[in-house]
Symmetry: C2
Subunit: 328 residues, 2 copies
């Protein structure tokens, strides 16, 4: 793998030996500064950097092992190769292994409850690339694994590390500098609470919503520059341990992303009436002195950011919220 | 009044004779292409043109008469000169009359129910300028009255005419070309339905929300250009009688305005959970074939645009909605 871009190409043979059994874990993550917009769809390159907090024990365990025939399971249930999700996973494995890929057993188990309202594709692809790297003794640097994980899901780039992680937008056209790196942080009391909003299946996938927004929203034009500035600022604030400023800016960044969607033609609106009611409750509590902030992704659930000292207040205000300690 | 800008200046004497009793009516209006942002606060000049439909019989009747002492009443109740609204009205009268203003009786009656969720400042200032013009036999052209109404409320420029009206942004620094004009329209079946959302008093006035958005929203930058393009397009579509395209574009324009607010730092959000629930109900009905669209102003109420043929469907979907025929 001397040619850096050859590892992107499923049609190129790899000098991989026979695989051995390997297991890996990767955490889910929640972006404080959002990834929203691609500059290259084929390479899954973003228009702006993003920054997330990994969710500690909530994530994906993946086992890779040699097998007589390909077999893929998710939480103990076999996934047929035809299903969209399974096909995407095998395409990802092909990309890693090249045309000379041996048959494999892949067992995936999520510690994120399916009902938790947290995306599992980020931890899934991060755990998969990590397990493949071990199984084939490929010894790829973490940054290269992050770059590869990008082909499965943009946010997977960030799930290769615990704690605060930045996915740098990169400059190269081949995407070899568009991967994540961990950030030296000073926010040990940072916590997340997920407030679930039951809304049935999503009307639009995040990828569809993103493409449609970039293409049709007149307000998207200023997003890439603003998002990059937000990411830089949040990184500096995370290093400084300034929780209040991190939270306020992360909330503003998320709302700007949703605003860019609301202005799409026609509108994309992942915010549901119940999501907005939770945001209003938060804003009212904040006016009363609670130091907590919200972020939302391409779905209806509200994710709160707060510090350990506010745990009781958060539970009192949002009794159904799932509290997550990213550092536990 | 040979100097066009002298009529803006309350300190300049006017060659006005003694007033006689005069009555005038002006309709409320709902913008299909929104006014959002000022390029000059003192002159109340907008950053973009806007276009509205006047609401027929819903508006303001105003009587102006000579009096021994100033007296102002609203819906039969005396308004003291100290109240903010009253002070603004008298400042407006001073601007019209100049320093040599005689004492006046001003009686204002709204035919818009106070609970209707429709702003009355537009019809109020339009009726007032019209009544003052008659009372003093000033014989100002309608365009000049519209320009003057602007000092009371930007949207008042458009309430000088029935039907579809465009307030042109204008180019002159003195604002003398920033007034409204009627549009030859071909949409006789155009109807409005107001769906009320009870939300208590507004957290922020529309003027505060506008100023804060222009100042802090990173997504506002593209609004003025887009809003001007929307206004031009909606004007052409109104002339063509293309209801579906008018509705879709008016909805997109309104959501873009609200999106610019959501991205303000901190966010301005006039959309309430119940507003969003109404929007979702509308969007679902539209997927099922209903040709109706929504617009919202700086408040929680949802205003639907539809054609007479859809009246029964609108009533079935939104039983509490107030139906308005702008041409009745």
């Amino acid at each position: 793998m001397t040619n850096a871009t050859a590892i992107f190409d499923a049609s190129v043979p790899r000098p991989l030996g026979a695989p051995h059994v390997a297991e890996a874990y990767a955490p889910a993550n929640i972006a404080l500064s959002k990834y929203w917009g691609k500059r290259d769809t084929a390479l899954n390159l973003p228009t702006n950097s993003s920054l997330s907090i990994s969710l500690g024990q909530l994530g994906t365990h993946t086992k890779v092992a040699p097998a007589d025939t390909d077999h893929l399971s998710f939480n103990g249930r076999a996934m047929g190769g035809d299903a969209t999700a399974a096909a995407k996973i095998w395409r990802f494995v092909d990309r890693f292994c090249g045309v000379n890929r041996p048959n494999l057993l892949i067992e995936t188990t999520n510690t994120v409850p399916t009902a938790a309202g947290l995306a599992s594709s980020a931890s899934g692809f991060a755990a998969l690339v990590s397990a493949l790297n071990d199984a084939f003794a490929a010894d790829l640097p973490k940054e290269t694994q992050s770059m590869l994980a990008r082909f499965g899901s943009g946010s997977a780039t960030r799930s290769l590390w615990p704690g605060f992680v930045r996915w740098n937008v990169g400059e190269r056209r081949d995407g070899t500098d568009s991967h994540a790196r961990p950030i030296d942080a000073n926010l040990p009391d940072f916590r997340i609470a997920v407030v679930l909003v039951d809304s049935g299946p999503k009307a639009q996938s995040s990828s569809e919503g993103m493409t449609h927004t970039v293409k049709t929203s007149p307000l998207y034009a200023t997003w890439p520059t603003q998002a990059e500035a937000d990411c830089d600022a949040i990184e500096a604030l995370v290093r400084d341990g300034d929780f209040g400023s991190v939270g306020a800016l992360a909330e503003a960044n998320a709302l700007a992303m949703h605003a860019s969607m609301l202005a799409a033609r026609p509108a994309v609106c992942y915010i549901k009436p119940a999501s907005l009611a939770h945001l209003e409750a938060l804003w009212a509590a904040r006016r009363d002195g609670l130091e907590a902030y919200a972020t939302m992704d391409a779905g209806p659930n509200v994710k709160l950011m707060f510090e350990e000292k506010s745990r009781d207040d958060i539970i009192a205000l949002f009794p159904t919220a799932q509290i997550i300690n990213p550092f536990a």
